[in-house]
Symmetry: C2
């Protein structure tokens, strides 16, 4: 999907909501669990119900892989069901040496028709490059994640040759933003920034003013939609805020899809105020 | 697999070779390519031929995912074919927030019966922990990889409060070794160290004297088996040296498996000298 189309969808729907299909077989409504193809049935119902309120769906590959090749089938079938209007993200956290990343790019951009894939930056440039070579496809690289472990490495201070400065050290995640943004451009590259990392939003926008940010951590993980929206929105909105569990597991009865739609609509309504 | 059994296998076979099943459908012999289930046929022939010379197989998930759910089936079938004597590694480079890493652990340690999975450390402790909670299963965490991009982040110098020291700064990969090794122990945790990173081998062994190292980069990527063996072997050998393309694509004719066995045997013979 070209960036212009994504921005147009956001403007039209007054929403930058991404619904995360982290479909855990143990958490879907009991009446579905025993049915054949339960995951796909659940996903299709959630997609039908939330389509008007979101611009994107994110499939977390872990939840599908946990079911083996049946799960991979369910991912393919779910993906095929999402209409072209919606930006489709493989939340896969991949990246490997170039020869291998080529194969991951093929897996998610050719064999599967995702618009974007999330990537871990640890292995550097040749692990990311293959994903940037597809037209209208996107690499979404981890910068500062929403979890507690973000403090372990992402927020380590780097030595930068000016150690006597009273300024704080540059963080690893900042170097990731600076380096990786030079490998691509705002038409093929986004960054993951956790909604729980409120103190860093303004700083991140100074480093990458034009890139879209994919923002997990709103909802169950406790991040604030208001905070990320006020501090990191740019002139093209530039945000995709993901909500997974709070929407898809809103209800556990027959009417689970309506319950999900209700929560998705609440997020959309709040986003409409910020745009 | 318990560490004692792995060490025993290494001692018995006088080999610490891991054969990498990076099975690229475009690179397997032409006479196989058009056959149904070509990948599995190829893998089974390679496994049969190389079994006596190696102690481990590593399946690179990217090459299977590139084929969609059929590829995932091929991975399952290949895995089931590898005998219990051999240590089975999912080279998957996963890791995500705890809730998601739980699912990846389930995918590779329960749904699939791998002994180990490779993981990227960027997201920190809660992204690695779920893999350490299985008995006789292993997390193999990226430390210093074999590719050019290792210089981008893995070898960044960290600020450590003693900036006027004339010693070089601590590298990110060193911090990864120190921190991650405290989360597990030499019975459930290994590290990936590229064979191309010769200058760092001794240093790495000082930081993690007892852990197994999974070493890619010998063969096609140009790393030296002699060098890693001389500088990073410990009293229990402590190395699994992976060779992929050089072995599995040694021949492209009907006798491809014999050609692969020949190369695997050469590596085993060289290893026998170093043990």
């Amino acid at each position: 999907m070209h960036r212009n189309i994504l921005v147009e969808q956001i403007r039209t729907k007054k929403s930058y909501l991404c619904v995360g299909l982290d479909t855990d077989i143990d958490k879907i409504p009991a009446h579905l669990q025993q049915q054949p193809n339960a995951i796909v049935k659940f996903n299709k119902a959630i997609i039908d119900a939330t389509l008007p309120y979101c611009v994107s769906y994110k499939l977390n590959t872990a939840f599908y892989e946990a079911l083996g090749s049946k799960g991979w089938d369910a991912m393919e079938e779910t993906l095929a069901y999402i209409p072209k209007t919606h930006f489709k993200i493989a939340d896969a956290k991949r990246a490997d040496i170039g020869n291998t990343s080529n194969q991951y790019a093929k897996a998610f951009f050719e064999t599967l028709d995702f618009d974007a894939i999330t990537l871990a930056p640890y292995m550097g440039e040749d692990s990311i490059r293959p994903f940037l070579e597809y037209e209208n496809k996107w690499a979404i690289v981890l910068a500062l994640t929403s979890n507690k472990g973000a403090a372990d490495f992402e927020m380590l201070g780097l030595r930068n040759g000016d150690e006597n400065s009273h300024l704080r050290a540059e963080f690893l995640y900042e170097r990731v933003l600076k380096k990786v943004s030079a490998w691509g451009n705002p038409n093929n590259l986004m960054f993951v920034v956790g909604a729980t990392q409120a103190t860093e939003f303004k700083n991140i926008r100074e480093i990458v003013p034009d890139h879209f940010l994919l923002v997990p951590g709103v909802g169950f993980q406790g991040g604030s939609l208001q905070n990320i929206s006020k501090n990191a929105m740019n002139s093209e909105v530039g945000l995709l805020v993901n909500v997974s569990r709070t929407i898809i597991f809103a209800g556990d009865k027959e009417n689970f899809a309506e319950e999900a739609a209700l929560i998705a609509r609440q997020y959309q309504a709040e986003m409409e105020r910020y745009i």
